[in-house]
């Protein structure tokens, strides 16, 4: 078949024209929607054309949640942060299987359908990459997404890992297990068996639907409150043992050099942190009442209190916490403030149910040095409100 250059060009123009019309339709709502018949029903919902929240990819291996665009505590699944070490694999749920072996009575294979037949549980939990701090440089034009986009909260559904360990007859002598992914990094982490008896899940559901590919489709390990990397995605194998495996991800990476010349290993716990998501860069404030709000979370359980300062940390007032405060989940805090003009630094400080207080940058540096590693960096951060109402990140270079 011969296609003339002209027809091709015309075709291309047609596509361009169509694209244009669609774009115009998207951005031009009728001036009185009650006088125009609305759209018909459709198989898959979409965001309002005016709402364009986006994850922000940093290279090819991670992208952050746009906290500045979100309300409440649940992260829409398509805006959940991602971090991977071998790309996002495509896995056919029909051929997926999970192998559990090692120190067990019965090495077994479970299909996805098998996993779904076990008693299930749904729980709301945050996940956070332990490298979730983008605020160590001199940049002040940083959004909440750039500062701390690598944390999100979902309702996860799955089977308790303890249930599967009973099914295979895990040896009481097993103290660690290896979790291995089916991605191109075949990512592995060693996890204490005690976490399985505490609250670990094999999750296949996220916010009511199947887990998204970036979050580990079709099934992942979920270790509530523990660093993202240990929540192995695309889980294909669990091996029980009586010692850790010392994988690359838990030795060369995801360990923290300390000021005393040691390095912390198996540092799973995500400590308490808070983040003001409004007002924040690039917002411009007008004078008057402002509802400062943000999210706080801790791997140790529930957030007990979030203090807010509007004078650069000189004085602190407890913010209101949105109930119910859930364990190991983002908690929304709000604080009313009357901005009368003038420069101000607003900050938040989380306190969790163990009494742990979110540290300052100086306290963190005293314990950890200024290491380039940047894992588990959870300092109190501030936003600078300038007299003209523009808001920027209060940089504290490390």
């Amino acid at each position: 078949m011969k296609v003339s250059r002209r027809a091709l060009l015309a075709g291309a123009a047609g596509v361009v024209a169509l694209g244009k019309t669609a774009a115009m339709q998207a951005s031009q709502a009728p001036s009185d929607p009650s006088k125009v018949r609305g759209k018909p029903s459709r198989a898959l919902g979409q965001r309002a054309p005016f709402e364009k929240p986006q994850r922000q990819p940093r290279g090819v291996a991670s992208s952050g949640t746009p906290h500045q665009d979100l309300y409440g505590t649940i992260t829409p699944a398509d805006l959940h942060f991602e971090r991977h070490h071998g790309g996002v694999p495509e896995i056919d749920p029909k051929t997926y299987s999970l192998l559990i072996h090692g120190m067990v009575e019965r090495p077994m294979v479970f299909t996805l359908a098998d996993l779904k037949r076990f008693p299930s549980v749904s729980r709301v939990h945050f996940l956070e990459c332990s490298g979730n701090f983008g605020g160590r440089g001199t940049a002040t034009e940083l959004t909440p997404q750039q500062l701390a986009g690598l944390t999100s909260t979902s309702e996860w559904t799955g089977v308790a890992l303890a249930t599967l360990f009973r099914e295979v007859g895990a040896s009481p002598k097993a103290t660690w297990f290896l979790a291995e992914g089916q991605d191109a990094a075949v990512l592995t982490r060693s996890i204490p068996v005690s976490k399985a008896h505490d609250d670990a899940l094999i999750a296949y559901g996220q916010n009511g639907e199947a887990i998204r590919p970036e979050q580990g489709y079709p099934a992942r390990l979920l270790l509530p409150g523990w660093e993202g990397n240990s929540n192995v995605k695309w889980l294909r194998r669990i091996e029980l043992s009586d010692r850790p495996f010392m994988t690359r991800e838990e030795t060369s990476k995801y360990t923290e050099p300390m000021a005393d010349g040691t390095a912390r290993i198996f540092s799973f716990l995500m400590d308490a942190r808070s983040l003001i998501t409004y007002p924040a860069y690039p917002v411009t404030l007008s004078r008057g009442w402002v509802e400062i709000n943000g999210i706080a979370w801790t791997g140790s359980g529930k957030i007990r209190r979030v203090d807010v300062s509007t004078d650069g940390g000189a004085t602190w007032t407890p913010a209101r916490l949105q109930e119910p405060v859930l364990s190991k989940a983002h908690t929304r805090f709000r604080h009313l403030w009357n901005w009368t003009g003038g420069e101000a630094v607003i900050m938040s400080r989380a306190v969790d149910e163990t009494g742990y207080v979110q540290p300052t940058r100086d306290v963190l540096i005293a314990a950890r040095g200024v290491s380039s590693v940047g894992y588990h960096v959870n300092p109190i951060t501030g936003w600078l409100i300038r007299p003209d109402g523009t808001v920027v990140y209060r940089a504290e270079p490390w």
Binding site: S41, H85, G86, L99, H101, R106, M108, V109, F110, T111, R117, F118, P119, T163, R166, E167, L178, E180, A184, A185, V186, T188, R237, E239, S241, R243, F245, M246, R248, T251, S252, P257, M258, A259, D260, G261, T262, A263, R264, I265, F266, S267, L269, D271, G299, S300, T354, G355, Y356, V357, Q358, P359, V363, A367, R368, G369, V370, S371, S372, V373
Partner: protein, 221 residues
């Protein structure tokens, strides 16, 4: 009055359209869901789920030895899992040059990706205070076995899992040699690899945050 009529009309429409209008569903759905929900507690006791759970559900199937062998590729710090075979720095050098050097540099120090080779004077461990100190196999890794495990499973990223065991042994030997951890004529195999002395081995300490409970107000961790 008028709005009530409208509601009924939508309700009927909703039934006809099988849920075509979201507003119409709750009326019918409420009736369906509230009754069983009240009867639920007997079926799902909140306190003791294990009381009614069997020891085993009989779900899943036994894994065959072949299935386990195919996936069980991990290598432990004690050398458990290392396959037969061996390699020397001389075996690994050409493989490294053709398949690794483009991303990790000619001698493992030049990048652009992770720096793999290099020791620090006196095997110091300045990583907390000096962000530029390179974390390499020789300066930071606590176990040599990790190199075999990781390279075999994940490198090179454009063809992960493509290296033969002898090639991995050779590459590991070459990287250990570049890090001045073994002599040029050393042979690396399942017995010798776990014995390679790693300068950073004793630097790693367990994380003590979280347990025991920190004192109220404790914050430097």
């Amino acid at each position: 009055m008028k709005s009530a009529l409208r509601l009924v009309a939508i309700g009927v429409l909703g039934l006809i359209c099988a849920g075509g209008d979201r507003n119409a569903v709750p009326l019918a759905a409420q009736a369906r869901t509230t009754a069983p929900a009240k009867a639920q507690p007997a079926k799902a006791p909140a306190k003791a789920p294990s009381a009614k759970e069997p020891a085993r559900f009989g779900i899943g199937r036994p894994a065959t030895p072949a299935e386990i062998t195919a996936w069980d590729i991990d290598v432990g710090p004690d050398g458990v899992g290392l396959p037969p075979g061996r390699g020397t720095p001389a075996d690994g050098a050409p493989i490294y040059a053709s398949r690794c050097a483009g991303c990790h540099g000619k001698t493992g120090k030049e990048g652009p990706n992770d720096v793999l080779a290099g020791r620090l004077p006196g095997d110091a461990f300045p990583f907390a205070r000096d962000p530029r100190a390179p974390k390499t196999i020789g300066s930071y890794w606590p176990y040599a076995t990790t190199a075999f495990d990781y390279i075999r499973r994940a490198m090179p990223p454009d063809a992960p899992g493509s290296l033969k065991d002898n090639e991995v042994y050779g590459l590991v030997a070459y990287l250990l040699f570049l890090n001045e951890l073994i002599p040029a004529d050393a042979s690396i195999d399942a017995t010798s690899l776990p014995k390679v002395k790693m300068p950073a081995h004793d630097r790693f300490v367990p994380d003590t945050r979280g347990a025991p409970k920190p004192a109220p107000g404790a914050k430097s961790r």
